[in-house]
Structure formats: structure tokens, C-alpha cells
């Protein structure tokens, strides 16, 4: 009996190291702004962050001075540039599928994080923290983020019907509930015009007939454009003859947002919700 | 051999074409303008001088055959006088009017050009093709009148292609197609018909048919200008033969006078002789010169 117990103890001791955390990666590259800003919040400075041409990513001031890697299709970062940084781990996105494969072949660990809802973003925040050895810290961080989000979505007075669209021109895509922007707006108390529709990508072209029939109170457009394009784009959208009969158009509640806060998961979720409530939903 | 006299028995649809565009023949003393008078034509294509001063003349009611070696410029000369080829010098006048002064539509009422081989479009019937030939008589967006339809029918009948009037062009043989091309030209209802080597790609039987058709058109009162390769054919059908060599006109006149053995040797470099025997014409050639060397007589 004592021999068996001793054997069990030895076995347990052997297994223990496997369950404890592996050594945290030191050289980390973050290709998405979400991963980069989350790392910054966790007090970890990546050795490189990704930036797309013409994109409007907002980075935490803590990331100033971190070398940037330009991102383009289909690999994402230039693989030679990335390799020369000698990273242990790369936080990437499914967009750069080819590059991710190549990185893995180079022996670099790749973690894919594409959160499309607040819930996913919080879960991913925790996962990032776990991977870089800040588990406890990230648990607290997520907890405080949850509190802030709850506070930001308190006391919603009205639930206006919102059409959230992506892109420019007469053929915009509407955000569906299973997209980042759709989730934010829903959390902020808006009722999405596309509620009930779902598709793999989270975006679809919605018939203008449905728009007229559903009659949204607010229209928010998220084009890929620059800040100084906002006035002309707002004008253009207000004058879309197809939407002329909607409450939104008639009451002038057509807005344009060019930052990425509705487009891509960010780390300042609570303040985004507050902004949406204040500027667009007025609730 | 020239045919016996110019028989102007023309009847039927050609009656209306007597006199182009109603131009008066002028005072009785002045000679009427020739259908075609071309002098000193020079043509340059791609930097090379194809014609260096060629002449050509048509008298009403005759069949003129233009002959010459390959590359001499026969086709180029005929295309130039027809207005299809730009010239760099010389004068061309149709019924006394300068070619340059004639608009496309007007020229289309004076002469019809039948190319050697036109592209054969799919999905077009003989009647449709001949109808297109009639379009020079129609206003840009105008409709076909009864008389236009009659003219198309007459052209088809005259060319002897009634049998396949509704067939697609792609189903016709070489000889049949050549007749259809002539029908298209006839639908233009012009006093002058020009054909560029109409028989060069036809077999014996088809050639005989087309030759007979062209000769009978002259019998109807048409003036016909041909480019031909076959010298025996030229002898048989032409009233006048024009010899073009090295880009110039070297001879013009009745076939028997022009196509002498000396001319054949000088222009074609061949020991040959044309003969005529009871309605048939023939070209006798010493194909292998060594064998004919020294012998002057021929059988």
C-alpha cells in the first residue's frame, strides 16, 4: 500500500510540470490592433505591430516607438521582415491565411484571434493574457472591462431602429447582428435593421425595399475613408433617393464614422458604446 | 476572237440604266464622255510603287479584259479606277466626272465592283446578300420598295442563281458563289460591272458558265471590265485587251492584235501562241524551252 502511494506521488510530481504554465514567450508580434492594444493594456510591449495601408487603426500611446510592419494581401506582413525580428509568437488574423501558414513553417507560433462580438473580445483578452504569462492580471482586466461595459449600457431610454452600413457608394453592405459593429450597436440599445439575418461573413447587401419597409430611425455608415471626407459622404448618404422616405433621412439622423471602432474589435469597448449612444442613438 | 458586232439587244431590267444619273450626252457634235477614262495612274503601297503610270479606258457596251503577269499591277489598276484604292497621281473620270468629286453613293450608281472572293458570312441567304447589293439605292433608314424587290429578283434571275435563292451562302460551291457575287453587283443596277479575276479559282465548267454570263451581260448593254489570268479566256470574251506589265499599260486593243507571240514573249517571257478554232480558243505553250529551241514553226 505504501509503495503504491509512493508511486502515485512520484507520478503526480512528474505530471505537475506539464500542467504548470510553459515559459511565457518573450518576443511577441501583434498583427491586429486588437491584439496590440490588449498587450499594451496588459503591460506587455510587443516587438512589432502590424498596420494596413490606408487603414485607420488607432493604437494605444503605450505602443509609440514600436516598429510597424506594413500589412498587405495575401501574407500580411513581409515574411522576411517578420523573420528578421525573430519573434516567438505572432497574434494574427484569419485574413492573412497564407501568411499564417508560412509563419508556422518558419517555426513561429501563430495565434488567430478574430473577435466579432463583445463576448468574444473579452474571452480573447483573457486568452492573450494567459499566453503572455499575465493570467491573473488579465482576469482582473476582463472583470473591470465587464463592469465598465455594464455601466456604459445602463439606463437605455430608447431603442431606435438602426441601419449600420459598411462601405461607400450605392451598394453598401449592412452589418448583421453577428458582426462587431452590430454587436456594439445592439449592446448600446439600438435595434438592428438586420436583426434576424445571419451569414458567415457578418455583412450582406440588404435590399433597399426592406430598408424602406423597415424604416430605420438612424443610419450610420462606416466607410473606408478619411476624416475630411465625412461631410461630403454624409451629404451623399442623406441624398440617397432610395432612403429618402425613411425617418432617419427625414430627420437628418444620418451619420458617418471613419474610425475603426465599429469595424474592428477594440479594447475601449465601453467608451465606444458610450459614444454610439451619445452621438448616434441619443438614448 | 471578237464577237460578231456589238449587239445591243438589252431588254428587261437593264433598260432603266440607260444613261447614268440622267446626265445629258451633250451637244451632238461633242463625243459622249467615256464611261471610264484613266491616265497616268500611279499607286504606292507600303513604300513600293505598284503602278507607275498606267492607263485604262472603257467604251460603252464593250468587255475589256486586263491581263498581265503576277504582280504587274492588274488588280491594283482596276481597284484604283473603281475608287477602292488610293492613287498618288494620274486622273480618273467616270462619264466625264472626276473620281475625286464623286460621293460614295453617286459612284455606287455608276459602277459595281465584284471582288475575287468575298468573305462568306454565316447565316446569310443568297437573297439577303443580293438585297444588300441593292442598298445603294435606299436612303439610310429607308425601306425597300416594290421596285427594289423586283430589281433584286431580276438580278438573281439574270445571274442564274434562282435555284438557291433561299440557301445560305455557306452552302454554295465556288462557281455558285461567284455567280451570287455577280448578282450582288447586278443588284446595284449600274451601267458598268467590274470583276476582279472572277474565274481564277473556278473549275472548267464553272468558268465556262461565268464567262458566258459575263458575255451575255454585254449583250444586254452592260459595260464590263475584267481582270483575267487566262489568256485564252481573254481572247474568247474580250472586245479589248489591256496588257499591264511592270506597273504600266504596255498595250491596249483587240485581243488578236495585242496578244501576239511577240507580246507574250516580251511580257510573260514565254514561248506561246494563241489560236482560235471554231468557237474554241487555246493557248499553245512551249512549256520546256530547250525542246522548242531553234524551231520557229508550230503545229
Amino acid at each position: 500500500m505504501r509503495r503504491l502511494l509512493g508511486l502515485a506521488l512520484v507520478l503526480a510530481a512528474l505530471c505537475l510540470p506539464a500542467t504548470s504554465q510553459a515559459a511565457a514567450p518573450e518576443r511577441v508580434v501583434a498583427l491586429t490592433p486588437f491584439a496590440a492594444n490588449t498587450l499594451a493594456k496588459l503591460g506587455v510591449t510587443p516587438i512589432g505591430i502590424g498596420e494596413t495601408l490606408g487603414g485607420n487603426e488607432r493604437f494605444s500611446p503605450k505602443l509609440k516607438g514600436v516598429p510597424t510592419l506594413p500589412l498587405s494581401h495575401p501574407n500580411g506582413p513581409n515574411l522576411e521582415q517578420l523573420a528578421s525580428m525573430d519573434p516567438d509568437l505572432v497574434f494574427s488574423s484569419r485574413t492573412w491565411a497564407k501568411g499564417n501558414q508560412a509563419m508556422q513553417r518558419l517555426g513561429i507560433d501563430v495565434v488567430l484571434l478574430d473577435p466579432r462580438s463583445i463576448r468574444e473580445a473579452l474571452a480573447d483578452t483573457f486568452e492573450i493574457g494567459t499566453i503572455v504569462g499575465r493570467r491573473q492580471y488579465s482576469r482582473d482586466l476582463v472583470r473591470s472591462m465587464r463592469k465598465q461595459i455594464a455601466a456604459a449600457s445602463k439606463g437605455i431610454a430608447k431603442h431606435p431602429k438602426v441601419m449600420l452600413i459598411l462601405g461607400v457608394g450605392r451598394t453598401p453592405f449592412a452589418f448583421l447582428p453577428n458582426s462587431w459593429g452590430g454587436d456594439i450597436v445592439t449592446k448600446a440599445g439600438g435595434e438592428l435593421l438586420t436583426a434576424g439575418v445571419s451569414s458567415g461573413s457578418g455583412f450582406e447587401r440588404i435590399s433597399d425595399e426592406v430598408v424602406v419597409a423597415e424604416d430605420p430611425d438612424v443610419i450610420v455608415a462606416v466607410p473606408h475613408a478619411n476624416a475630411d471626407d465625412i461631410p461630403s459622404l454624409t451629404e451623399y448618404l442623406r441624398n440617397n433617393p432610395a432612403w429618402a422616405s425613411t425617418t432617419a433621412a427625414k430627420s437628418g439622423r444620418v451619420y458617418v464614422s471613419v474610425d475603426n471602432s465599429l469595424l474592428q474589435a477594440g479594447t475601449d469597448i465601453a467608451s465606444t458604446i458610450r459614444k454610439v449612444r451619445r452621438l448616434y442613438l441619443e438614448n | 476572237m471578237a464577237p460578231e458586232g456589238q449587239q445591243r439587244e438589252g431588254r428587261g431590267y437593264l433598260r432603266r440604266t440607260h444613261g447614268p444619273m440622267g446626265i445629258a450626252a451633250g451637244p451632238p457634235e461633242a463625243p459622249p464622255p467615256l464611261p471610264l477614262a484613266a491616265q497616268g495612274i500611279t499607286v504606292e503601297i507600303g513604300g513600293a510603287q505598284i503602278l507607275g503610270g498606267a492607263d485604262l479606258e472603257l467604251k460603252e457596251g464593250e468587255l475589256v479584259a486586263v491581263v498581265g503577269p503576277n504582280g504587274a499591277g492588274k488588280s491594283t489598276l482596276v481597284r484604283a479606277v473603281s475608287g477602292l484604292q488610293k492613287t498618288s497621281g494620274g486622273s480618273i473620270s467616270w462619264w466625264g466626272k472626276e473620281l475625286g468629286s464623286l460621293r460614295g453613293r453617286d459612284l455606287a450608281r455608276l459602277r459595281a465592283f465584284v471582288p475575287q472572293r468575298m468573305p462568306v458570312p454565316a447565316g446569310v441567304t443568297v437573297r439577303e446578300a443580293v438585297t444588300i447589293g441593292r442598298s445603294s439605292h435606299l436612303r439610310p433608314l429607308g425601306r425597300m420598295t416594290g421596285s427594289d424587290r423586283e430589281a433584286v429578283g431580276a438580278a438573281i434571275a439574270r445571274a442564274g442563281v434562282e435555284r438557291f435563292g433561299e440557301r445560305a451562302l455557306t452552302t454554295l460551291s465556288g462557281g455558285e458563289l461567284q455567280r451570287v457575287q455577280i448578282a450582288i453587283g447586278l443588284a446595284q443596277e449600274t451601267p458598268v460591272l467590274i470583276a476582279d479575276e472572277p474565274t481564277s479559282q473556278l473549275d472548267l465548267g464553272a468558268t465556262v458558265g461565268v464567262a458566258g454570263l459575263l458575255r451575255s451581260l454585254v449583250g444586254d448593254g452592260l459595260t464590263v471590265l475584267l481582270v483575267v489570268h487566262d489568256l485564252a479566256l481573254a481572247l474568247a470574251v474580250a472586245d479589248t485587251v489591256v496588257v499591264v506589265s511592270g506597273g504600266r499599260t504596255v498595250a491596249a486593243g483587240p485581243p488578236a492584235e495585242v496578244l501576239t507571240p511577240e507580246r507574250l514573249a516580251e511580257v510573260w517571257g514565254a514561248d506561246a501562241r494563241l489560236s482560235e478554232d471554231g468557237g474554241r480558243t487555246g493557248l499553245h505553250v512551249a512549256w520546256v524551252p530547250e525542246a522548242a529551241m531553234g524551231t520557229g514553226a508550230s503545229s
Binding site: 450605392r170 451598394t171 440617397n240 433617393p241 | 460614295g104 458570312p121 444588300i132 435606299l138
Partner: protein, 327 residues
């Protein structure tokens, strides 16, 4: 002749059906009786009237006009270039229009209102360059030169478009719909700006029908009849460019129509005479686009799909069936 009349009748029926479907069907269910009332001016206001008058009606008209325009453009180009593979793409128009539109979407999104003008301008520019090159040097205006110049220009502009898309991948989704080709329910706005180009193109094409028939018998016969072959080709190119550029300005890159509809019509009617093919291509193109567009916006309502694939699904089986029966 009887066969051609039959084909015409069939096309008219198809056109009528497609038009009715386009007006009666949509993402929002409106009973047919109400649609008729609204069209007759007896609508009672409200969203349904808005939908039929400001969305479905202009869209149906656009589909008919653009479908006809592309069908005609393909027919006259195939006639003028004597090449069965000729289509508006071949003279560089669609490549240029695509580039012009993508340029605005990606580099100047603030000026998005100018998208139709940009597409129109670059479409016509591309066609002009094609004709300028084809008319220079030897063999001016020959069909072979036009086609080669057109392919070169198409490649050039497509490369430019691809480059822009690759450089700005996040802006690509807005561009994709234009490239896939599709109509939008933007009321009469775009048609009000672009209609003169259609009008001129249609009139020009009508005037060219007989000259094109002459050209079918060869340059020599056409010249004998008093036409100038090079001028006819140039005229056909200009008319096709106007119609195709105007179409692209509104509906993006719809490539299938201009190439296939004239062939379908030719095989069905058994005739290549342009007096038959050009008008029949207009009817066929209009019917096909209206039908395809109706499917594109009703099959997965409320989601709107690009119209290109639906035209292909409708047109290709018919095309292949006729091809089998033809020689």
C-alpha cells in the same frame, strides 16, 4: 423569315414576363393588385408606393435599358469586327470603367457621388485609346488591330484595378460589388445623368445596321456600295463604347450579356442579318438582365446578390443547347 418572326415573338413574350416579374416581385411582398394600382397612379402613399415607384420602377427601367444597350453593343461589335468573340470588353471599355470606379472607391471615397462619371470617363478613355492605336500605322482600323489593342488596354486597366485592390484590401468590399456587376435601387438619379449617352448610342447603332450588313460581305463590296469600311468600324466602335460605358457607369461590369446574347439570337433565328440580330439582341439582353436582376434580389431576400451569376445561370444552358443544335 417565319423562324425569325417566331424568335421575335418569343423574345417579346420573355421581355414582357421579365418586366412584370421585376415590378411585381421584390424583397418586400406587395400583392400584384396593389402594384398595378400604384403604377396606375392610384397608390395610397406609404412605403409600398415608395417601393414600387422609387425603387422597383426605376430599377426595372434600368435593367431593360442596360440589357438592351449591352446586347446591341455586342451585336454591332461582332458585326463590325467579323469576330464571334467580340464584345464590349474587347474594346477596353469595361476594363477602363472598372478602373475608373475602383479608383474613386479606393482613393477618393469622399467623392463617391462621382462614381458613375468616373466609370464613364475612363470607359470612354480606354475605348478612345484603343481606336487611336488601332488607327495608327499600317493596316489602319483593321479588325485584328482593334482586337489586339483592346486586349492590351483591358490588361492595362485590369492591372491598375488589381493593384489598387491589393494595396487597399480593406476598401475592397465596396469595390467587389461593382466588379461583380449589379443594379441598385437608387431611383432615377443615375439614369437622369447618363441617359443622353444611351440615347446617342441607340440612335447611332440603328443607323449602322445597314452599313454593317454591307460590311459582312467584305470591305470591297461595302466600298462598291459607297460605304467606307474603316468608318463603319470606327462608328460601330464608338456606338458600342458609348453604350457599354454608360452601362458600366450604372451597373458595374456585366460581361456576359454583350458576348453571348447576340449568338443566342443568331442561332435561334438562324440568321446573321443585322436587321434581325441587332434589334433581337436588344430584346434578348433586356429580358435577360431584367430576369436575372429579379432573381438576384428575391432568391435570398432580404439579401441582394450580384446579378452576374444569375444571368449566366439563365443564359448559358440556353446557349449550350442552341450550340448543340447548330452545326
Amino acid at each position: 423569315m417565319a423562324r425569325r418572326s417566331l424568335v421575335f415573338a418569343a423574345l417579346l413574350v420573355a421581355l414582357a414576363l421579365a418586366t412584370v416579374a421585376s415590378l411585381a416581385l421584390g424583397a418586400v411582398r406587395i400583392p400584384a393588385s396593389e402594384v398595378i394600382d400604384i403604377l396606375l397612379g392610384k397608390g395610397g402613399g406609404g412605403p409600398n408606393q415608395q417601393i414600387v415607384e422609387s425603387l422597383r420602377l426605376p430599377r426595372t427601367v434600368e435593367a431593360l435599358v442596360i440589357g438592351a444597350a449591352l446586347g446591341i453593343a455586342g451585336a454591332i461589335l461582332q458585326g463590325a469586327l467579323a469576330n464571334p468573340l467580340a464584345s464590349p470588353d474587347v474594346i477596353g471599355v469595361t476594363g477602363g470603367a472598372g478602373f475608373g470606379a475602383i479608383l474613386i472607391i479606393i482613393l477618393f471615397p469622399g467623392s463617391i457621388a462621382l462614381l458613375p462619371i468616373g466609370a464613364l470617363f475612363f470607359g470612354l478613355l480606354a475605348a478612345t485609346l484603343v481606336f487611336a492605336f488601332a488607327w495608327s500605322g499600317r493596316n489602319r482600323g483593321s479588325a485584328g488591330k482593334v482586337i489586339l489593342a483592346g486586349i492590351a488596354m483591358l490588361s492595362l486597366f485590369t492591372a491598375g484595378t488589381t493593384g489598387l485592390l491589393a494595396a487597399y484590401p480593406e476598401r475592397a468590399p465596396s469595390a467587389i460589388f461593382f466588379i461583380a456587376g449589379g443594379l441598385t435601387s437608387s431611383g432615377w438619379e443615375e439614369m437622369e445623368t447618363i441617359w443622353p449617352y444611351f440615347a446617342v448610342g441607340f440612335v447611332f447603332a440603328a443607323v449602322l445596321i445597314r452599313p454593317l450588313d454591307r460590311l459582312a460581305l467584305g470591305d470591297d463590296v461595302a466600298a462598291s456600295l459607297g460605304s467606307r469600311p474603316q468608318l463603319i468600324r470606327l462608328g460601330a466602335g464608338v456606338a458600342a463604347a458609348l453604350l457599354a460605358a454608360a452601362s458600366a457607369a450604372i451597373a458595374g461590369l456585366l460581361g456576359f450579356l454583350g458576348l453571348v446574347v447576340p449568338h443566342v439570337v443568331r442561332m435561334a433565328g438562324g440568321s446573321s442579318s443585322n436587321t434581325f440580330v441587332v434589334p433581337a439582341s436588344a430584346l434578348g439582353g433586356a429580358a435577360l438582365l431584367a430576369a436575372g436582376d429579379t432573381l438576384a434580389r428575391t432568391l435570398r431576400a432580404p439579401i441582394e446578390m450580384p446579378v452576374g451569376p444569375f444571368m449566366v445561370v439563365l443564359g448559358v444552358p440556353l446557349f449550350l443547347w442552341l450550340l448543340r443544335k447548330a452545326v
